[in-house]
């Protein structure tokens, strides 16, 4: 065969991709998970730890009993929201990595309810609405930049993440600061907290909100004309335009809905996770919840139901991982635990990453073409 070099390489890539994606999803996930566990075990073995005992600790710490289950679920709750943020936008053809920043802003908005009094329940709802609106508001920036100036969302969301980060640093240090405990903001009063579901655990009623939101997103995307438009635009923007779908509308909608998700993620952390119910300076509870959500989304195959399962898995890794630190005679230090977690997550995300790549590239090219035509649009309108 006479074939150009790059072409041949691309074909090889596509072949590998087809092999990877041809498997049944469940089998594929299990296989990927096993590979991840094996790699993690190898790493621990090389560094002189006992992988067998460590994994036993992980499993017991994650799903060994009702306390462990509750901890795992509680860890997974914020991740459900941020994973949905990423997935909604990916379904709409965009690589939105702004959940991190929107989450910070949402958390700050939720904390502001500590400044006034409302009856129990209503106070909580007001906090959630604040957080959702704030998250959506923060996603508006990248959305508008994309729609009016064609700024790529990866660039703009990264920038907005940084702006959010420092803005929230400022808010925490100077505006919402607790005068008695300057390392954190004022705490959200009990009237606006998610009640703890199982005493003595971190699990609060926020889990129901997470499940509801996931089901809502599923219903919206697969059972309404609006969601249909979002998905069509995501897969093939040119065909969507041909089908009379307003791409700008789907872009805006998915950004906003993603922002709502991220805002709720922030609320679920500060209103739903004991004991602080406040943002600590340096945002140590919020840091990376947005980015971890992307990994959850990929393991959950960007489907709301898959995301619920993946979040449970990630929550388990998180809850069980920390038990690895103090289990047995030669416990695994946290740094090593995180390396092992990284290996498992990466292995589980690879199939979906491989699947996403061509689709994302296609969608990006399509969108690029669409927005490149903009100048002519204005000309034609004259």
């Amino acid at each position: 065969m006479t074939e150009v070099g790059p072409g041949r390489r691309f074909r090889l890539l596509r072949g590998a991709h087809r092999t990877l994606t041809g498997l049944s999803p469940a089998f594929e996930s299990v296989l990927a998970g096993l590979v991840g566990l094996l790699v993690g075990a190898a790493i621990m073995y090389i560094w002189g730890y006992d992988p067998w005992r460590a994994y036993f600790a992980l499993l017991r710490g994650a799903y060994g009993g009702s306390y462990e289950w509750a901890s795992s679920v509680a860890r997974g709750v914020p991740l459900v929201f941020t994973a949905l943020t990423f997935s909604i936008c990916l379904r709409a053809g965009m690589f939105n990595i702004g959940a991190e920043g929107q989450l910070y802003i949402g958390a700050v908005a939720a904390v502001t309810v500590a400044m006034f009094k409302l009856p129990s329940g209503l106070h909580l709802v007001v906090g959630l609405v604040f957080a959702a609106l704030a998250g959506a508001f923060w996603s508006l920036g990248p959305a508008i930049l994309k729609l009016t100036r064609g700024v790529h969302e990866v660039i703009s969301t990264i920038m907005f993440n940084w702006i959010a980060r420092f803005l929230v640093f400022y808010m925490v240090a100077y505006v919402l600061v607790d005068p008695h405990q300057a390392q954190r903001t004022i705490a959200i009063p009990p009237t606006a907290r998610f009640p703890v579901l199982i005493r003595g655990t971190d699990l609060s009623y926020s889990v129901f909100l997470a499940v509801t939101f996931a089901l809502f997103v599923y219903f919206l995307l697969w059972h309404t004309a609006t969601g249909y438009e979002v998905r069509a635009a995501g897969f093939n923007p040119t065909a969507a335009r041909y089908g009379g779908i307003n791409i700008k509308r789907t872009v805006l909608l998915s950004f906003l809905l993603g922002g709502v998700g991220a805002g709720l993620a922030g609320a679920s952390v500060v209103m739903g996770l004991p004991p602080t119910y406040a943002i600590i300076s340096g945002l140590p509870q919020l840091m990376n919840v947005g980015f971890d959500g992307m990994a959850v989304a990929m393991v959950g195959r960007n489907h709301p139901i898959g995301i619920l399962l993946a979040a449970l898995f990630f929550g388990g890794l998180n809850a069980g991982g920390r038990v690895m630190q103090f289990y047995g005679a030669n416990p695994v230090p946290l740094e090593m635990v995180r390396v092992v977690m990284g290996a498992i997550v990466l292995a589980m995300a690879i199939p979906e990453l491989a699947r996403m790549l061509p689709a994302t590239l296609r969608a990006l090219q399509g969108l690029k073409r669409l927005f490149e035509r903009r100048p002519h649009v204005q000309e034609g309108a004259k």
């Binding site: 100077y174 008695h180 300057a182 996770l273 602080t276 300076s281 920390r322 038990v323 103090f326 946290l334």
Partner: protein
């Protein structure tokens, strides 16, 4: 040194399980100050008393409470030590849920019968550093002394209050000895962070530009940035020793940067706090409540020759410096200290003695109001 303090222990009055846990804050190991000191003190106590020690780190602040719960649930630990005020909220919750578990916390007060709260009188050592800085500035003809602080939390008010008192005392002493009345201002900044090293550097640069004789680091890792700014200042000026100086905190940081610029450190012996807590459990004297450690208890202090020797050894053991660095650091440090006359060092000793015998009482502050009162009393150049 700590080993000398340990008494041979027979099986305690109560049945010991033989295990202690130390929970570090998100800063984690390797900060060469707070967390490392907490680890060191617990580790030494565990070895001296023949206990098994376990170290638990936290990836995020959301892990504090689950980790405390996980440890307490096992019921296998004689004592769980929380290093740092950031764990305060989580500990008050966990202490309530596990009333039979003994806890200790460094730097924060948790009001529960099963929690030993260990706090330090940082104002006392800061007064010594303040006096030294003020006299050094006056001696070298510098118009100011600097202080780079972290987040404006009550613990840091102890430092500021002590430093202000110390500067005031030092200036009076200087006037008394030399007959001149020096005009030395205090420059201080709350950077709002305990982790952004660049913020420390920037704040220090600004203070040096305004003529600060040195800066007192009251923000943990930010000291690395402070020292960097000071070293660059020396490079640009072509000087090797002398002002501007670096004043370390928590651990003895005099040896950092080859010992050239670290004049003295306000040491806060977190290790001794942890050691004390473990010891009390082993000896059966553990009880809830606040334990305050100051100069008298050896919980705080200003760095001396012997401390430097110990800490260089600590650094060599930890692998951050080698044995070959020992004498060069000692030599540099000695040359740097020699840039001040002996009487100033003696004056600092005098202040220390005064605090120890109770003839001098260093004020402190725990709230904004108290802090403002002290700022009003010791204005140090502020209008």
């Amino acid at each position: 040194m700590l080993a000398l303090l340990a008494l041979p222990v027979l099986a305690g009055q109560q049945q010991l399980k033989g295990r202690v846990a130390v929970v570090l804050d998100v800063g984690g190991r390797g900060d060469l100050s707070f967390n490392d000191m907490g680890f060191k003190g617990t580790d030494e106590a565990a070895r001296d008393f023949g206990l098994e020690m376990i170290e638990v780190q936290n990836a995020t602040a959301a892990d504090y409470l689950p980790n405390l719960r996980n440890l307490a649930r096992t019921g296998q630990y004689d004592l769980i030590i929380c290093v740092g005020f950031l764990l305060g909220d989580a500990l008050s919750q966990a202490a309530e849920e596990f009333p039979n578990q003994k806890f200790a916390i460094i730097d924060s007060v948790v009001d529960a019968p099963n929690v030993m709260s260990i706090v330090f009188r940082e104002n006392e050592m800061s007064a010594l550093i303040g006096a030294l800085a003020a006299m050094a500035a006056a001696y070298h003809g510098y118009p100011a002394a600097g202080m780079v602080l972290g987040i404006e939390i009550p613990v840091l008010y102890h430092f500021e209050a002590g430093f202000r008192f110390g500067m005031d005392w030092g200036l009076k002493k200087y006037a008394e000895v030399t007959g001149e009345t020096p005009d030395v201002k205090l420059l201080y900044t709350y950077t709002g962070t305990f982790s952004d090293i660049a913020a420390g550097k920037a704040a220090t640069e600004a203070m040096l530009a305004q003529g600060a004789v040195g800066v007192y680091n009251v923000a943990g890792p930010l000291g690395i940035g402070d020292l960097e700014a000071i070293s660059e200042y020396h490079e640009n000026a072509g000087t090797e020793f002398g002002p501007p100086y670096y004043f370390g905190v928590d651990a003895n940081q005099d040896w950092m940067g080859g010992g050239k610029h670290g004049l003295a450190s306000g040491m806060k012996r977190v290790d001794i706090g942890c050691y004390t807590a473990v010891k009390s459990v082993v000896e059966g004297t553990f009880k809830g409540g606040v334990i305050s450690l100051g100069l008298a208890e050896g919980g705080v202090g200003i760095s001396k020759v012997q401390d430097l020797v110990d800490f260089i050894q600590f650094g060599i053991d930890g692998g951050s410096i080698t044995c070959d660095d020992f004498y060069p650091i000692m030599a540099n440090w000695a040359r740097n200290r020699a840039t001040l006359p002996c009487w100033i060092w003696q004056a600092v000793d005098e202040l220390e003695a005064g605090i120890l015998d109770g003839s001098i009482s260093v004020p402190t502050a725990n709230t904004v109001e108290e802090m403002q009162a002290i700022r009003a009393e010791y204005t140090l150049g502020a209008p």
